[in-house]
């Protein structure tokens, strides 16, 4: 008997029991839809984190004070960063393209009746190239000429908040009652997938923040970027060397922590890999449960249709024909469930993406793997019931009530 005829027989049999077919398809649909959606969720957040990391700037390096941990209690570091460190790095480091302190002040900027709840960032001119910002209008301040000057460069969100009519260059904003003259605006960078706004920034010279806002010489973070991909480690060593030399450091532990972007990407992706794995495992279990559902229903089906099997044998079906018919039935159920599940999973992913603004990325691999798993599930869980059917004795099967 040709496979095509067997498929036809199997489809006819499935159509004769629509409700039962529907229920067993449903089990697989749910499993596959769950797999597709979960994987899309995991992949999506991984991708968006990577994008965000790249948006942070290429080959960025962040230097921070090393917090001592003693007995689980976090202690403030005794070592702090200062302007001289920034200058030393800028002058001596050869694997560094640019370096900038980063000192933030919380509060809001005000112009007339408009305000913008934006943190003020004290940076040096290099910060733009480290973080991939570009000037749209006006100019960036100069580290020497604008030292401690009451000037600022603002992002597009701040422009929108404070100057709805546009044309902010030359106007003055107030931050903690200190007037800052807008000398430049930044090109829009857009927002990341998790909603943080890269255009909601106000940059001012770091000396201005240190003298006029914080009255401190402490710098919490220094940003730098290496001269290219693959130089992160060398740049890190070099920076640490310079910082230690300035302090005549002899202790075995490093005084500062240096994060490179590569490290951070690795850290974050390994966490979301873990997340993906857990999500996939959960989804895989639901697919397995769906498979057991098929097996269960196929067993019931074989028992219920014992008489039909007996009749088919009496009119000439071989054991193999019966085996293949039931196997095809379970494979059709699982592939149908797989196809619907994939469609549903993609639809669900799109819905989550639009409705909850969550980054989702449906991967082709998960679609292919789901389909393959469905086929295997159908064969695997259909095999025993089908074999049981094929081994029935025609006379006894016909006598079955």
């Amino acid at each position: 008997m040709s496979p095509l005829t067997l498929i036809k027989i199997a489809i006819r049999a499935l159509l004769r029991n629509r409700m039962r077919t529907f229920l067993s398809v449903l089990g697989i649909v749910i499993g596959v839809a769950a797999v597709i959606t979960m994987v899309a969720m995991g992949e999506g957040s991984k991708k968006s984190i990577k994008e965000q990391m790249t948006a942070m700037g290429t080959n960025a390096i962040i230097i921070m004070p090393n917090r001592d941990r003693r007995g689980g209690v976090q202690m403030e570091s005794t070592e702090s960063l200062e302007e001289a460190d920034v200058i030393a790095i800028r002058e001596n480091a050869t694997y560094i393209n640019g370096v900038s302190p980063m000192i933030t002040v919380g509060g809001q900027a005000i112009v007339g009746n408009n305000n913008s709840p934006t943190a003020l960032s004290g940076v040096s001119a290099d910060y733009l190239k480290i973080r991939n910002y570009e000037i749209e209008d006006g100019v960036m301040f100069d580290d020497q000429a604008d030292r401690m000057a009451k000037v600022c460069v603002i992002g597009q969100t701040v422009v929108k908040n404070l100057f709805p009519e546009g044309d902010p260059i030359g106007k003055t904003i107030r931050y903690k009652s200190i007037p800052l003259k807008v000398i430049g605006t930044l090109k829009a960078k857009g927002s990341g997938d998790f909603g943080q706004d890269n255009d909601d920034v106000i940059f001012t010279p770091y000396q201005t923040v240190m003298k006029r806002f914080n009255a401190t010489t402490n710098i919490r973070q220094i940003y730098a970027n290496s001269i290219g991909e693959g130089y992160a480690e060398k740049a890190t060593e070099e920076i640490m060397g310079i910082l230690k030399e300035r302090r005549s450091w002899t202790k075995p532990t490093d005084p500062f922590r240096v994060f490179t972007q590569e490290e951070m990407i690795q850290m974050v992706t390994s966490t979301s890999d873990m997340l993906s794995l857990v999500l996939t495992a959960i989804a895989g279990i639901s697919l397995f449960v769906g498979g057991i559902g098929i097996m269960n229903i196929m067993y019931v089906s074989v028992t219920e249709r014992t008489k039909e099997i007996g009749l088919r044998m009496a009119i000439g079906a071989r054991g193999r024909d019966i085996l293949l018919q039931f196997l095809f039935e379970s494979v059709i159920i699982s592939l149908l469930g797989g196809a619907i599940g994939i469609a549903l999973g993609i639809a669900a992913s799109e819905t989550v993406k639009i409705a909850m603004n969550w980054p989702m990325s449906v991967s082709i691999t998960s679609v292919i793997v789901s389909f393959a798993v469905c086929f295997t599930t159908g064969v695997f869980f259909g095999w025993y019931p089908a074999r049981k059917a094929s081994q029935l004795d025609p006379i006894e099967a016909l006598r079955f009530e």
Partner: protein, 252 residues
Amino acid sequence: MTTETPILSVKNLHRDFKMGDETVHALRGVSFDIHRGEFVTIMGTSGSGKSTMLNILGCMDRPTSGHYILDGEHTEKLKRDALAKIRSQKLGFVFQSYNLLSRTTAIENVELPLLYNSKISSAERRRRAVEALERVGLVDRMNHLPNQLSGGQQQRVAIARALVNDPVIILADEATGNLDTRTSYEIMMIFQELNRQGKTIAFVTHEPDIATFSGRTITLRDGLLKKDVKNETVQDAKTAFEALPPPENFDN
């Protein structure tokens, strides 16, 4: 007639069923031949071995010992799959309880045996099924489901299904057992007509009046052949049917 090779020949057929320690001897050495074009009824009391006999003739069961030659083939040596092939190509079965697939139209039920023969195209399958339904007078019901048909009509669909593969012999086990007298006679009219057209038929029954419609009656008792007689006066089922009291009389 005796010089011609029989279409079916059983020799010293035994069939034992082991039930735990006990052995039931359902057939204890039965021999007979059936020739092409014969209409044979097999009679006997309940438990005499009629169904056991017919299941062996139908290649659904194998004898414990003895020989069974069907259309020149020694079936007792054949494996499961080979027996299935014989059932598919040489035999037609009619059961007491019709055994139609539910939720499946009459025509699809009739087509079913041909599905297991890969040499037949779907067009050929349909053509033959329609022809078989014509022979039992049910073409106008071909798209009806079994539960939309009377018992007699269902049995006619089952006969069409047994005919569709053009078998060398039709085997029927109490094919009128579930039907009233009128409908039984209608069914016997069909069997007689098929026999007149040349079909060989072996028909198990325990109703003596049904046996009178056949040309020969084999009687079994306790697994042995007790009688094998030619009927000199074969009754015509149509005449017998017309002689029955009209159905309205049942209301009185």
